[in-house]
């Protein structure tokens, strides 16, 4: 027997000096076991680990984290994407539709529960194309439009989710299945509690000449089906709210186009780029309609520095109005309805949980009425 795990006595033999190093012997493998009370050590280590973990859980609950808040992983998105088949109603967009729509209330008012496929910082055009290319989908797609993200030339922050969805391995899918009961139980299972995140956000001094790091704070909590709302701490903890706003200010400053060399304002968003985006969106909208589905657009309220950046950089008539008109779609923007204005926007970009409820209740009747009008309009056009 050329190989051995030294199982006869599991000992190193009471060595008094370091053993000679056996680098590699192609004929033998020695796997000695140090003579220690391993079972007792494991039990002790487990007891200490459980105690420390309990303390960690209590600490984070004290920071307002709660069990049942699901991490917004690619696997969770893929799980919901698999539901987007047949005549399902699907919501895509970046973070505003994600925060500002309460799926429970939408279902209560509209009679159908949408599948939430919005992803923060990510252009919904990717998801629209994916749905348009999917022959199994012929439902209603509701697109949340945040102009700077919608018209972006790359996919945005989480564009990789589509690739993940298409290539998800059986073990990744099973991992997600196993993680669900843990997320239902433990509050500390959250991206912001990880040591890596803690190190990244630790308030260390900046090196000379460097900009502060852009690292968005946790803003939301999500249910198992990605029904998402603003995290209570953003509303209740003023200091935390200011940190969140500071991060938005930083990214807006980083993304702002530089002024021209002569100091004049930066050139506007190029017309050809707008034409290309609208053309691409129209093609995908037409594909979905050709299968009996439909597409509609929503625009959600914003405030503060976002209002300055978006209203100046993405004027409604050049972007929103054109998108809605050329795709012949229903487009509901908060600008047009007093019922959709005057809400509390905690950090300039997203509604608080309570306001999202109020907003959803106000939005659904308007949306349904507009959809009915559009249907009648199309029928009338068809009859002529």
């Amino acid at each position: 027997m050329p190989s051995s795990t030294s199982s006869s006595d599991d000992r190193l033999g009471g060595l008094r000096a370091p053993p000679p190093l056996a680098f590699f012997d192609p004929e033998h493998v020695e796997r000695p076991v140090p003579a220690r009370p391993w079972r007792a050590l494991l039990v002790a280590a487990l007891i200490v680990t459980i105690g420390l973990t309990a303390g960690w859980e209590v600490y984070w609950r004290g920071k307002m984290l709660a069990a049942g808040d699901y991490k917004n992983t690619s696997a969770l998105w893929a799980q919901e994407r698999r539901k987007a088949v047949g005549d399902a109603t699907v919501m895509i967009g970046s973070s505003r539709i994600f925060f500002d729509i309460d799926l429970d209330l939408w279902e209560e008012a509209a009679g159908v529960r949408p599948v939430m496929l919005a992803m923060e910082g990510t252009s919904p055009r990717l998801f629209l194309k994916d749905l348009a290319d999917d022959e199994n989908f012929r439902g209603l797609t509701i697109v949340g439009v945040t102009a700077p993200v919608f018209f972006t030339q790359d996919g945005g922050l989480r564009a990789e989710v589509l690739d993940y969805y298409k290539k998800e391995t059986p073990s990744q899918r099973f991992d997600h299945f196993l993680s669900a009961p843990l997320e239902e139980t433990f509050a500390f299972l959250d991206e912001q509690t990880r040591p890596k995140t803690q190190m990244t956000t630790a308030p260390l001094p900046l090196r000379d000449g460097m900009q502060p790091l852009f690292y968005p704070r946790k803003l939301s909590i999500s249910a198992a089906d990605r029904n998402t709302e603003m995290w209570a701490r953003v509303v209740e903890d003023e200091r935390y709210k200011e940190e969140a706003k500071a991060q938005w200010a930083l990214i807006l400053q980083m993304m702002a186009p530089p002024p021209s060399a002569d100091g004049s304002p930066p050139p506007p968003f190029p017309q050809e780029a707008i034409d290309a985006v609208v053309g691409e969106v129209k093609a995908n909208v037409d594909k979905i309609r050709a299968r009996g589905g439909d597409v509609a657009f929503l625009r959600f309220p914003y405030d503060g520095m976002f209002a300055v950046a978006e209203d100046n950089g993405f004027p409604r008539e050049r972007f929103w109005d054109r998108l809605v008109a050329e795709t012949d779609s229903v487009g509901v923007t908060f600008h047009d309805y007093p019922e959709l204005q005057g809400y509390e926007i905690a950090e300039w970009s997203h509604l608080t949980a309570r306001e999202a409820e109020r907003y959803t209740r106000a939005l659904v009747p308007i949306f349904e009425a507009r959809m009915a009008e559009k249907k009648a309009e199309r029928e009338a056009r068809g009859a002529n």
Partner: protein, 474 residues
């Protein structure tokens, strides 16, 4: 299936339970084989077929080699084995690389050739298991071993899940005989195996992914020249990341096998305390360096065919060793640099001779260890860079020769990375002439318990890891 996943926890618990049940030995081995196929198929079920093809071809080829008396027939059957394994490897791993270089060659001689798109998915760990099965055919051909008598044992040798996708690359003589008789871990082996798995996962999930990857990725992900501090931090962090990632896998694999009662060889022995490059390659990825020594360097003639051939053999071995890591010229240069280092070290030995008293001087040894680590870091630049242009910029940045250097790393990334790297190098130096087992036996119990609890707790709060092991791609 990743070791650092919940799926593996459930899978491993089921495998251990089945292996500890009162089933006959053959049924246990069969269950281990099925488990290994599930482990591999959890990435992509069709790729299990590749494992089966490798197994079937080498099983038959080895028998034919053993039975044949004529050298010509023996060589023919060996070629069948090598062609199958290298063919699979070549198609999946090097196809795109070969096509790209062929296109460049054609274009450079004025032939307007447009290569078709090559989008073949690389099966994980393909370089590891193809080398393992080739070792079997080569051992039979070189009359170093007799063929296995059991197809089940041989199949399990090829696909044994703990070391299937990232090593250690086990020799048939090390593992096949272990499947011949019933194996069951003793309680002590089982718990020590769990301790090793904890250490391995801690290395990967906490040290490599959480502490070192941000700095390495930040520096190597930047476009343009870097401030020297950023460049050095990125390279040093990568030296730690690649060590903890790969050593973490090997340690977890050794622990998992031990929990089942099987012994796997060490793959790393504190390589950053190496004094010189022959020492480094006795400590880094040992199962690959010895594979290359036994199946490439020695068959090429080793050091038995004159001085010039020795140096040439050394270079060929290291260049191919570099290419084994990936289908890119940057890996070839990485291997080439190691070949040059080894050749230079050999030359120094020839010039200065053996047995000099100052060889054992601690200052000399420490200086040589630091020089070795420094030169290893230069090679990591080529290993980690995507292109030669990036490698050139990084090297220029490290030595403050780059124009318009930028700062891209925050203290939040620099501080943890440098602390962990300093701790790693110091630990390697302290452990240079001893073993983990020996140290564990001498360490106070309370300290072992505390360290084990600390590692477990860190694994829990790190919440697993989002990234696969770096060596899976090789």
């Amino acid at each position: 299936m990743l070791f650092n996943s919940l799926t593996f926890v459930v899978f491993f618990a089921a495998v251990v339970a089945l292996h500890s049940s009162p089933l006959p030995w053959r049924a246990k081995k069969l269950s281990l084989l099925i488990a290994s196929y599930i482990f591999y198929g959890a990435w992509s079920p069709p790729f299990v077929l590749l494992l089966m093809i490798s197994t079937a071809v080498d099983w038959k080829a080895a028998q034919w080699i053993h039975r044949s008396t004529g050298e010509g027939r023996r060589r023919l059957f060996l070629m069948l084995s090598l062609a199958t394994n290298l063919g699979i490897l070549g198609y999946f791993k090097y196809g795109g690389f070969l096509l790209e270089n062929f296109t460049m060659l054609m274009n450079s001689v004025g032939v307007a050739y447009q290569a078709p798109e090559w989008s073949i998915v690389l099966p994980v760990g393909i370089s590891f298991y193809t080398f393992q099965t080739m070792a079997y055919s080569l051992d039979i051909y070189l009359r170093r071993a007799a063929p296995s008598k059991s197809l089940l044992d041989f199949s399990l040798f090829v696909s044994f899940f703990p070391q299937l996708v990232a090593g250690p690359i086990v020799r048939p003589s090390q593992l096949v005989p272990q499947f011949a008789e019933p194996k069951q871990a003793t309680a002590q082996q089982f718990y020590w195996g769990l301790a090793l798995m904890t250490i391995g996962l801690f290395e990967k999930v906490v040290l490599a992914d959480s502490f070192l990857a941000p700095a390495a990725d930040g520096a190597f992900g930047a476009s343009g020249a870097l401030h020297p501090l950023d460049a050095w931090t990125g390279v040093l962090a990568f030296s730690g990341q690649i060590f903890f990632d790969f050593s973490g896998y090997s340690t977890t694999a050794i622990g998992a096998a031990l929990c089942l009662g099987f012994a796997l060889p060490n793959n790393f022995l504190y390589p950053y305390a190496a004094i010189g490059f022959s020492d480094f390659w006795r400590r880094w990825h040992i199962s690959l360096s010895t594979w290359l020594r036994d199946y490439l360097y020695i068959p090429l003639g080793g050091n038995k065919k004159g001085r010039l051939r020795t140096y040439a053999n050394l270079m060929i071995t290291m260049l191919l060793g570099g290419l084994w890591h990936g289908a890119s010229w940057t890996f070839v240069v990485w291997g080439g640099l190691h070949g040059l280092y080894l050749a230079a070290e050999r030359l120094c030995r020839e010039v200065f001779g053996a047995g000099r008293s100052w060889y054992n001087n601690i200052v000399f040894k420490l200086s040589m260890a630091l020089l070795t680590y420094f030169l290893v870091n230069i090679t990591w630049v080529f290993f980690r860079s995507q292109t030669f242009a990036q490698a050139k910029t990084m090297l220029a940045s490290m030595f403050a020769l780059a124009a318009e250097p930028q700062k891209v790393l925050y203290w939040n990334e620099i501080a943890p990375a440098l602390i962990v790297v300093a701790g790693m190098v110091a630990t390697h130096w302290a452990m240079r002439s001893t073993t983990l087992e020996y140290v564990a036996e001498k360490t106070p119990r309370w300290l072992i318990g505390a360290l084990w609890a600390f590692m477990l707790f860190m694994l829990v709060i790190t919440q697993g890891s989002d990234s696969a092991f770096i060596y899976f791609q090789f």
